[in-house]
């Protein structure tokens, strides 16, 4: 996506990275809308560099065993499971 226009091929590329299939009509509509939205995002160029000294503290806990969700409960929402495992599509 260049600064001036958003090309449908680039929408397809980003959609592939995000693992979302799109219809052709969606690609065209998104290309048009993204041009508008990215033009607004460009105005962030006017923001000065700012010192970001975040006030952060580490939060620690003892490394101890505790109860957690059992396999039966964890698998309750899986569309498919096998022998106590999640079943997914082919990796290759």
């Amino acid at each position: 996506m260049s600064d001036d226009a958003v090309n449908p091929e680039e929408v397809r590329h980003v959609a592939a990275l995000a693992r979302i299939d799109l219809e052709d009509s969606e690609v065209d509509r998104f290309a048009e809308q993204f041009a508008d939205i990215l033009a607004a995002f460009e105005t962030l160029d006017e923001v000065p560099e700012v010192d970001r000294d975040a006030d952060l503290a580490n939060v620690m806990r003892p490394d101890e065993e505790h109860d957690c969700l059992g396999p039966d409960r964890a698998l309750e929402n899986a569309p498919q499971s096998e022998d106590g495992y999640f079943k997914g599509p082919n990796v290759s």
């Binding site: 990275l17 995000a18 979302i20 299939d21 993204f34 995002f41 929402n77 599509p89």
Partner: protein, 426 residues
């Protein structure tokens, strides 16, 4: 009138302990907050049949306090919207303004309180999703300081920005619900013990005493707002002045960039958070044909609506090689700048006041076609999330018969200050 306020109606009863602070009270819970055994859809087809195996921390705290949960409320899909129209389960009407939207994304929660379907409600606020529907439905809503309320069991949209917050008919009742849900949680490492040493409750702060209160009015948050909204806002400030408060104008130049910074950060976080929905462990499955990338692409095409796809794609783009510095890094600079501006303005004022929304509630269907126009409606609420600060939206009156909300913003963990100031408007 109450149609579509709830995605799932279900009674979840709390502890029978009649002494609990919420005994006898009904609470509606936004459908992105996990309830054990009761489906939690996030307003999405992706999670249409998802039934959480555990409760969110806030839900456990409601039960311990004796509350009765009456249902899971309608919302914009995954919290992405300002009107509750992006819900897979359908749009809904504003009970306080027929023919208009209830605001979003926690539209069902605000509407449940406005329609009397629940005494209280919980929503979540990533960029205004509690305060906007509170303003549009004429009820009270609080967005807590980042870290005051546990997000454990809240389905994440943009974790660095969001907090669960309460709704009620009055400031005091809303603050009572905040008292129940606030406080550190071992299961959310971003929660903190509030640094102040006050032992009094948030509800006790709703005493209406604004004598000597100093209010800053950020001029940028009035620019471009609807005339009737601005007029209602000034009438409410005059009311506070009559009760002994004083106000002065302040400038927050950074907020001119807040909407863009917010959307870059929120979309980037969303693109990462929503990567978990692949239809294997839970959610809509893309089937088992072809390789896993094909299956995930199908699952996500079917499961997500337009606004969610739009935000995931733009977030993926903003984080992609070559664009990260241009968008994401600049947005983080803008976020730090917004924080500095608020810190400075709050060094000479106890609270900052503005209209919650620059416009009255939209008509149903009015705004779905132009996403950027819709994002700009969040101009007054998103800066507060970028700055991690607490804010309340309290009814300020009406313009042409439509509710107008006034937003009060306080310093970090200054919930009592905003509760006290808001209670003076009732």
């Amino acid at each position: 009138m109450s149609e579509n306020i709830f995605i799932t109606e279900a009674e979840i009863t709390g502890d029978a302990d009649a002494d609990g602070p919420l005994a006898g009270r009904t609470v509606a819970v936004k459908d992105n907050i996990s309830t054990e055994g009761v489906r939690t859809t996030c307003g999405s087809r992706m999670l249409e049949d998802y039934v959480p195996p555990y409760d969110a921390t806030v839900v456990s705290r409601l039960k311990d306090a004796g509350a009765t949960i009456v249902g899971k409320t309608n919302m914009d899909e995954f919290g992405m919207g300002t009107t509750t129209e992006t819900s897979y389960f359908g749009a809904m009407e504003n009970p306080a303004a027929p023919g208009r939207v209830p605001g979003g994304s926690s539209g069902g929660s605000a509407a449940a309180v406005a329609a009397g379907d629940a005494d209280l409600a919980l929503g979540s606020d990533t960029g205004g999703s509690v305060r906007c529907p509170a303003a549009f439905c004429g009820v009270v809503g609080i967005k807590p300081t980042y870290g005051l309320v546990s997000r454990y069991g809240l389905v994440a949209y943009a974790n660095s920005l969001e907090q669960i917050g309460p709704f009620g008919q009055t400031v005091e009742e809303t603050a009572e619900l905040l008292d129940v849900i606030a406080g550190p949680d071992d299961r959310d490492a971003t929660t903190r013990e509030p640094p102040e040493d006050s032992n009094s409750s948030y509800a006790d702060a709703a005493d209406g005493d604004v004598d000597g209160l100093s209010i800053g009015v950020p001029t940028e948050l009035l620019e471009g707002a609807d005339e009737g909204v601005v007029e209602t806002f000034w009438d409410a400030l005059a009311d506070l002045e009559d009760q002994g408060a004083e106000y002065h104008e302040v400038s927050l130049p950074s907020v001119e960039h807040a909407v863009e910074a917010y959307y870059v950060i929120a979309m980037s976080e969303a693109s990462s958070n929503l990567a978990r929905f692949d239809g294997v462990r839970y959610g809509n499955s893309g089937g088992y044909e072809g390789n896993w990338n094909d299956a995930f692409g199908r699952a996500r095409e079917e499961g997500f609506g337009d606004e969610v796809k739009r935000r995931i794609l733009l977030g993926t783009y903003a984080l992609s090689a070559g664009y990260h510095d241009k968008y994401y890094k600049k947005a983080q600079d803008a976020r730090a700048w917004v924080k500095q501006d608020f810190d400075q303005a709050l060094s000479d004022a106890d609270v900052l006041a503005s209209p919650t929304m620059p416009v009255p509630p939209f008509e149903l269907g009015e705004s779905l076609d132009d996403p950027m126009q819709m994002y700009l409606a969040d101009a007054n609420t998103v800066p507060v999330n970028l700055a991690d600060l607490p804010a309340v939206s309290v009814p300020a009156g009406e313009t042409d018969g439509l509710p107008v909300g006034l937003q009060l913003v306080g310093p970090a963990f200054g919930e009592r200050q905003v509760v006290r100031a808001a209670s003076a408007l009732e």
